[in-house]
Amino acid sequence: MPSNIPITPSTLSVKDLPWQIDWNKDKCTLCGQCTAVCPVQAIELGVFRKRALDMSPGFTKPPESTMQIYYGIRQKTDPAYICVGCAMCNLVCPNGAITPCSSDEADKLVFHRDRGGLPRSRGGRRNVAGTVLDQIKFIRISMLTDPALDAGRHEFEIRTLLGRVLPPEENLKFIRQNGWIPPVREIYPLMIGGMSFGALSPNMWEGIQMGVAYLNEEMGMPVRISTGEGGCPPRLLRSRFLKYVILQIASGYFGWDEIIHALPEMKEDPCAIEIKYGQGAKPGDGGLLMWYKVNRLIAAIRGVPIGVSLPSPPTHQTQYSIEESVAKMIQSMAMAWGFRVPVYPKISGTSTALAVLNNLTRNPFAGGLGIDGEDGGTGAAYNISMNHMGYPIASNIRDAYLGLVTAGMQNEIPLIAGGGIGKSGNLAANAAALIMLGASGIQIGKYIMQAAAGCLGSESDRCNICNIGQCPKGITSQDPRLYRRLDPEQVAQRVVDVFLSFDTELKKIIAPLGRSTSLPVGMSDALGINDYHISERLSINYVV
């Protein structure tokens, strides 16, 4: 390295970076594993020249100055190779000689992440920790006047409905007249939301699917998983496991050629069709699979060329009005499966959600509404979309539910909430709060990556490189050298662990409320919060 470093506007020191590598020369074995594993090549072998003074005791000879060399780790400061804090170096170091440390002051890198005029894009969630959901408490504890239930031994029916539920009068009339009754699925209220084959590595996808199949077939828990926009592997489409899968169609229609062609050979109907109109992490923006991840397999399933970025349009190109085109799209998808499969749209959290919902109430084929709040995760999005766009899920779902109550349709259109649920680790508490605010079902994505596969991403902007296919855990990579780190069997095991522990925790919440026979959707009298304005906004109890 030249001693006189050229100073350019984007020349940064290590101190200017969000993550600084702390390397201990005494412990380092110089094995090189850290530099090999670093997904962004932020560290490299450093050859350091150092002055040494030789001052023999007794002044037998005059002091001498010599130059010595030692080897170690050097952190790059070029914005293209910035440490993302994933700490894989620490994970592989046999002596614990290296670890990234979070900077103690605001980084300066943030001002230089637009080289070539390209703003930053990344994976992960909005970089803000915590949610309102974490502050909600469950306050209606059954005490003496009615007994609390035994979460461990009482019988519980933790199920929800997905699909258009008729009003009771019409339901009975249609039964008598042998009329068409919309398909309704009784499923577990916690679902795995859309993470596409492509965004996730094959091993990750396989692991989740195996876990879901095990939950259904061995544990009796009807857990469902959405494919995300990326199609579905042909063998899964033709297998009996398809009934556990919600096929997602989005504006890029990726994978739907394969799905349509598989229709005549399907042994089972899918659980449902999710039409994605928006996503919480990047509201008003389409899906994005960057070129790094579009290998032969992904290209084949999606029906696209290899190695091109796949940005879906922000909206479905056939769509010019909600009254007509959305209704038609819902109806077309319903028709493709002979009206035996529920079809529902999923939108980003937005202040216009009520307008969408009002429209769906008038569409007899709409089987629900998914709302993905601002804290949702993604494999790839512009940083600006992730950090600044979107609507918080709590008040969005509450408004939607109360809107349905006003219309008397709260049982007819299930609301599915997503977006940052369990972001602080409080999965069951967040899910229960949303259910009591009015959600019928909950979708999680990022939480599964974190809990079932060890995703390192966090809201302090750690890792978050899902977009470039370099996932150090092999979760969101299409490179076999990376995704072979992930054993699908172990992912499946963790998925099962997550759902079983969630089930126990959910019971630990609803049993003390005295609820066991039905999911407490809209049981807002059980909720309290110690912020007056939030309590007013959500129409729940203010408690201090």
């Binding site: 009482h154 009771p168 026979t517």
Partner: protein, 376 residues
């Protein structure tokens, strides 16, 4: 937890039967309220089965306003049952001006109305009066319906009965329901006293209804003016009963399938699996989630008791042909019908609806796993 007692008898009985039965169960209520429901009336009301009877509590001013209101609608008083009380009420019982039980003649222009319209008008008048009373605090109206009397008051049940001098020949009924209230988390309010009444349907309940808020929200959004009130979480049971039988046209056997449906595995084995699965889905917001014991009365004078899925509340039915009683505790049954075959006493469990029909000859037990009669 409250205490419930109801009795159905071929011969008209004094309501004191019920008060005495409640009195032996007095550990279970705290004087925060008592409610009495009388139907299939004897005495002077025997000959005016069709005349709507207004039951309520009024101040002098409220009574004047009531008279003006009813006159204006064209209602003529047909019969008044005077209730004279001593000037000083017993401890715990508030002082009231007038306990009103009054039968009316329908306005002439109501002649020839179809029954549905007639019933809806009666509900609307009761709700209007209730609203007028809420505004001025001078009237409380419990029922306005033919062949039905309701009395509600705060206080120890037996003391209230003695205070109102209910042990008299002209207050008799073949169906009596009474509840001694144990106040829980809602304010003491006469409108929160069971039994509740709507268009011929009445229920009273033991236990809190943990799903009250979503159930209330759902009923209120049905677009029927009678689904209102809800000073007590138990009022929804009456309205769900009304909804099940009147709006859905189902029988009493289906009531339990609405409020506390079978689990899926049991539904799959049920002969009416398809119907029940659909009902469970479309009536999901009416699932009560207990723990509750509900005693109710239908317009045809059928009495029934139903337990929720948890079966945590006490309830027993027993008697002899011609006279049966439903009670929270066996001691209440013993007080009312001592001369029965106690070996035939029946405590409905989590799948049972116990029904005593209008002929009062037997206790029919409908298990939830049994086939349902077809929808009417």
């Amino acid at each position: 937890m409250c205490r419930l007692f109801s009795i159905t008898s071929e011969e008209p009985l004094s309501p004191m039967v019920a008060f005495e039965a409640l009195d032996v169960m007095r550990e279970g209520h705290d004087g925060s309220g008592v409610g009495l429901f009388l139907r299939d009336l004897g005495g002077p009301f025997e000959d005016m089965k069709d005349a709507p009877i207004l039951s309520g509590i009024f101040t002098e001013n409220g009574l004047k306003r009531l008279d003006a209101f009813m006159m204006n609608l064209g209602f003529m008083t047909k019969y008044k049952l005077p209730i004279k009380v001593s000037k000083t009420p017993p401890a715990g019982v508030p002082k009231r001006d007038i306990y009103l039980i009054r039968a009316y003649e329908y306005p002439e222009e109501w002649d020839g109305l179809d029954q549905l319209e007639l019933h809806n008008r009666l509900v609307n008048i009761r709700l209007q009066l209730r609203e007028m009373g809420r505004a001025e605090g001078d009237m409380m109206v419990f029922s306005f319906w033919p062949d039905v009397i309701m009395i509600k008051e705060i206080g120890e049940p037996l003391k209230v009965a003695q205070h109102l001098k209910l042990d008299r020949k002209d207050i008799q009924a073949r169906v009596i329901m009474a509840q001694g209230r144990q106040n829980t988390n809602y304010a003491i309010n006469l409108y929160a006293c069971h039994p509740f009444f709507l268009q011929g349907f009445s229920t009273m309940t033991n236990g809190e209804n943990t799903a009250f808020i979503p159930v209330r929200d759902y009923l209120q959004s049905r677009g029927f003016p009678g689904y209102t009130g809800y000073q007590s979480d138990s009022e929804v049971f009456t309205h769900i009963l009304h909804y099940t039988l009147e709006r859905l046209g189902l029988g009493i056997e289906a009531y339990k399938h609405i409020i506390t449906p079978l689990q899926d595995a049991d539904i799959a084995m049920h002969p009416d699996a398809k119907l029940l699965q659909q009902l469970k889905q479309s009536c999901r917001r009416l699932i009560i989630d207990g723990p509750n014991c509900v005693i109710g009365c239908l317009p045809d004078h059928t009495l029934f008791m139903v337990q929720d899925r948890k079966k945590l509340r006490p309830g027993v039915v027993g008697g002899r042909p011609g006279r049966y009683a439903f009670s929270s505790e066996i001691c209440g049954l013993d007080a009312a019908i001592p001369d029965r075959d106690k070996t035939l006493d029946f405590q409905p469990m989590h799948l049972d609806t116990a029904i005593v029909g209008p002929n009062r000859q037997e206790v029919a037990v409908c298990r939830q796993t049994s086939p349902l009669p077809l929808p009417r």
